[in-house]
């Protein structure tokens, strides 16, 4: 077809398979999560005050090295890429691990990495130093971070205006301290964070680091649809902050975080979808009605066959997005839109089918199906709904909206 989009013709293909390293990482994660993250334990935690499993996260972050996957070796990380990050996310999604992986190892880390690379204030470099220092502490798992954006934020959004600079206090300027005021509702993965990265409107806009213990910072837990990734409402009332990026580099850093967030979340949803299919297939072989296994009824089989086909498609989209991001491919924006929309749709369908095809037991609190359903539905809204990502294709693929 003659248009800008396909001018690329058949480009040399990116590797869409799983590398040996990725498979080894996934295997190690599965072993650990099978022990530490059994469905009954995940369910029990949802009724405790600590919705996040901080001990599990510390083990994953430090022992397996998940926190530092994206961080270069010279800053103490693993020097891996978004491919490994996505492969690990699939396993965490399959086990519904209640850990702030997406928010910290994904969104916040990618934001800090870009801030460290691009902070370019004349005579500056101080911001880059703060970001690099944060990355070192993220890499060894001593610190967990979150970007303070509302869950529905997505790549290419306009810079958030929910938080503004407020009047300085005596001594602030000398200490390099800024003050922030504002409120951001429904922030994912911020509850267990030690550090928040807060985008604030100003002239110019900036990205600020706020310690979780800072006076004037409040986090109120939200009773969340996704009980395994609890949201919180964040408010800042003159909270002290340090600037890590300004202007265009702040916008670039935030966007990098949201792009990575969408891709990692898509991979997590892929892992969740596959797990829901596996659980449902297993139940279809076990449960008997009318003196037959219910999985032998064609109405059931065809739905599961369709779901399987949907997941094979979503897997290709997820792998492509991770590969694009890992190699800084010019097609990344398209890849992200495809992956987030395909994987979100697959996950929601899979979780809904899982509930339905388990019958009454699938509707109980005791069975884990509802945890998957809640995670799937909530994640499909987080970092851009499938519809919002497809709408982005209008510009990216030259399919303009009606005038």
């Amino acid at each position: 077809m003659s248009n800008a989009v396909s001018a690329s013709k058949v480009r040399p293909a990116l590797d869409l398979l799983y590398s040996d390293t990725e498979q080894a990482l996934a295997g190690a994660l599965d072993d650990l999560l099978a022990q530490r993250c059994a469905p009954a334990a995940v369910l029990a935690r949802t009724e405790q005050p600590e919705a996040y499993d901080v001990a599990l996260w510390k083990a994953l972050a430090a022992e397996i090295g998940l926190a530092g996957l994206l961080i270069p070796e010279e800053l103490g990380g693993a020097g891996a890429s978004c491919r490994e990050l996505a492969a690990a996310a699939e396993r965490l999604g399959a086990h519904l691990a209640p850990v702030p992986y997406v928010g910290s190892a994904g969104v916040a880390t990618a934001t800090a990495l870009t801030a460290a690379k691009t902070a370019t204030r004349p005579g500056g470099g101080q911001e880059a130093g703060i970001a690099a220092d944060l990355l070192r502490r993220l890499a060894d798992g001593t610190v967990t971070a979150a970007v303070a954006v509302t869950a529905s934020a997505m790549p290419a959004d306009t810079f958030p205006a929910a938080v503004q600079l407020s009047g300085p206090q005596p001594g602030d300027a000398a200490a390099g301290i800024f003050r922030l005021r504002g409120r951001i509702d429904s922030v994912p993965d911020a509850l267990p964070a030690d550090v928040l990265l807060v985008p604030a409107e100003g002239v110019p806009n900036g990205l600020y680091l706020v310690e979780a213990t800072a006076p004037g910072l409040h986090r109120v837990p939200v009773t969340s649809l996704d009980m395994t990734r609890q949201l919180c409402d964040v408010s800042l009332d003159g909270a002290p902050a340090r600037q890590i990026a300004v202007g265009a580099s702040a916008a670039a850093a935030l966007d990098a975080g949201l792009v990575t967030g969408a891709v990692v979340l898509a991979a997590e949803q892929l892992g969740l979808a596959q797990r829901c299919l596996d659980m449902t297939v297993a139940y279809g072989k076990e449960r008997r009605q009318f003196a037959r296994q219910v999985g032998s009824f064609q109405a059931v089989k065809h739905r599961l066959a369709d779901l399987w086909a949907t997941i094979t498609q979503a897997r290709a989209a997820s792998r492509y997005a991770a590969a694009c991001l890992a190699s800084d491919d010019p097609d990344t924006a398209v890849a992200v839109a495809l992956a987030k929309s395909a994987c979100s749709d697959a996950a929601v369908t899979a979780a809904q089918e899982c509930v339905q095809l388990h019958g009454g037991i699938g509707f109980t609190w005791e069975h884990p199906a509802h945890l998957y359903l809640k995670r799937a539905k909530a994640s499909s809204v987080t970092f851009g709904t499938p519809g919002a990502h497809r709408a982005a294709l209008a510009g990216l693929a030259n399919l303009p909206a009606p005038a």
Partner: protein, 404 residues
């Protein structure tokens, strides 16, 4: 972190060697001075037909993904190439079946004219009484000396009117259960007793035919596989058919059905509506993802890890073609109410560029030909997901005693 051993280096060396081989071949057979048929035949004999074919039979036993390098060199030299569209069944189904199941002598006889296009092949599987339930077919083959005598009726046979040979599945033993009594042959379509009658389809023309077989003599030398092994051989054909229909070569973004829709959208701003925009974006994304899934499948095959994902390709391909062409008709407004020509013609293959209405109509067949989408879902459920089979009444009864 990603150490890929030395695999890429090996592939590169292989590719360099292949390119050198092509250049040497081109020096011996300058395309400008060599007649097309002679060039193609010589190319096949040099192992430069399809490089994944076996050595001595048009190939070099290389992985499929070595082929593009070969074609690139030939294209640069302006060399003639085969027309895949004229022999889709031959290249897509007959050749893989022959390579997998036929004898050396048969490979030598059949593959060369098949590949060059001198002999078109068709597939004589379906019958009026046996479609999805292919194994219940009734066409009989009875042994008579060195020959088999074949009598029966086949239907929906695409390309039979152009074909020199047909992949024939026939019943050689009615006294055993249906899957056990079948044998596979390569039928000479020009043999006495073969009658081909066009069968008109809903698009107006006739791609397919009815084929009547009356006392046709088929030499035993044209039997593929052992007597009674027909079902096994037929499955090799069907697997390849589904892969062929679900796209087996790398394509560019918007090269398929999505390209027609996107081009129409760009050409006609005045026809755009919100509803059509939402539907288009969704279909475009799905088409692009299915292209990536096909690419991933090819990478799996090339890495020697064939997965079952191939069965998803055909299912999704049919669905998308139907949805996209349905969208096109809607987008065309009243132009979508006009058709180019209902005249009965006997085309060799479908020309999808004919227009949106043709595409809409022709794509209805995509979920029927090569195994219906319902049958594909059964196959995925039972062979991929290993869900239990439906209770069946036809497994252990001799074919002749089955209820009809």
């Amino acid at each position: 972190m990603l150490d890929e051993e030395n695999a890429p280096a090996k592939v590169l060396a292989q590719e360099t060697e292949l390119r050198e081989r092509v250049l040497a071949f081109l020096a011996d057979h300058p395309p400008a001075q060599t007649p097309r048929d002679d060039f193609l035949a010589a190319r096949f004999d040099a192992g430069l037909g399809y490089v994944h074919y076996p050595v001595g039979h048009g190939g070099l036993g290389l992985p499929r993904n070595a082929q593009p390098a070969l074609e690139e060199e030939l294209a640069k030299a302006g060399a003639p190439d085969i027309d895949v569209r004229l022999n889709v069944i031959g290249l897509g189904m007959a050749a893989p079946t022959i390579i997998a199941c036929a004898s050396e002598e048969q490979k030598s006889r059949w593959l060369r004219p098949l590949w060059t296009g001198a002999e078109v092949w068709c597939q004589l599987f379906s019958e009026p009484g046996a479609g999805s339930d292919l194994a219940s077919l009734a066409t009989r083959a009875v042994r008579d000396g060195d020959d088999w005598v074949v009598t029966g009726q086949k239907v929906w046979t695409s390309l039979a009117h152009h074909a020199k040979r047909g992949l024939l599945l026939a019943r050689t033993d009615p006294d055993v259960p249906k899957h056990a009594g079948l044998t596979y042959f390569a039928l000479d379509m020009h043999a006495p007793g073969v009658e081909v009658r066009p069968l008109r389809q809903l698009t107006g023309e006739a791609e397919f035919n009815e084929v009547f077989l009356s006392q046709v003599r088929v030499p035993d030398a044209d039997r593929i596989g052992a007597v009674g092994d027909g079902w096994k051989v037929a499955n090799a054909t069907l697997m390849n058919e589904r892969v062929a229909i679900g796209s087996s070569r790398a394509v560019a973004r918007e090269e398929g059905a999505a390209g027609f829709a996107a081009a129409a959208w760009r050409q006609h701003p005045e026809r755009r509506t919100q509803d059509l925009h939402q539907r288009l974006l969704k279909l475009w994304a799905q088409a692009e993802v299915s292209r990536l899934a096909a690419e991933r499948l090819r990478q799996q095959l090339a890495a020697g890890q064939p997965g079952p994902e191939g069965s998803a390709s055909k299912l999704i391909f049919a669905l998308l073609n139907q949805e996209l062409s349905g969208w096109e008709v809607d987008f065309a407004g009243t132009d979508g109410l006009r058709y180019d020509d209902w005249t009965m013609r006997r085309d060799a293959s479908s020309d999808y560029a004919r227009g949106p209405v043709f595409r809409y109509l022709r794509s209805r067949g995509n979920s029927i030909e090569g195994g219906t989408s319902e049958i594909l879902r059964n196959i995925i459920a039972e062979r991929v997901l290993r869900l239990p089979a439906e209770p069946r009444a036809d497994k252990d009864i001799p074919w002749k005693d089955l209820p009809r």
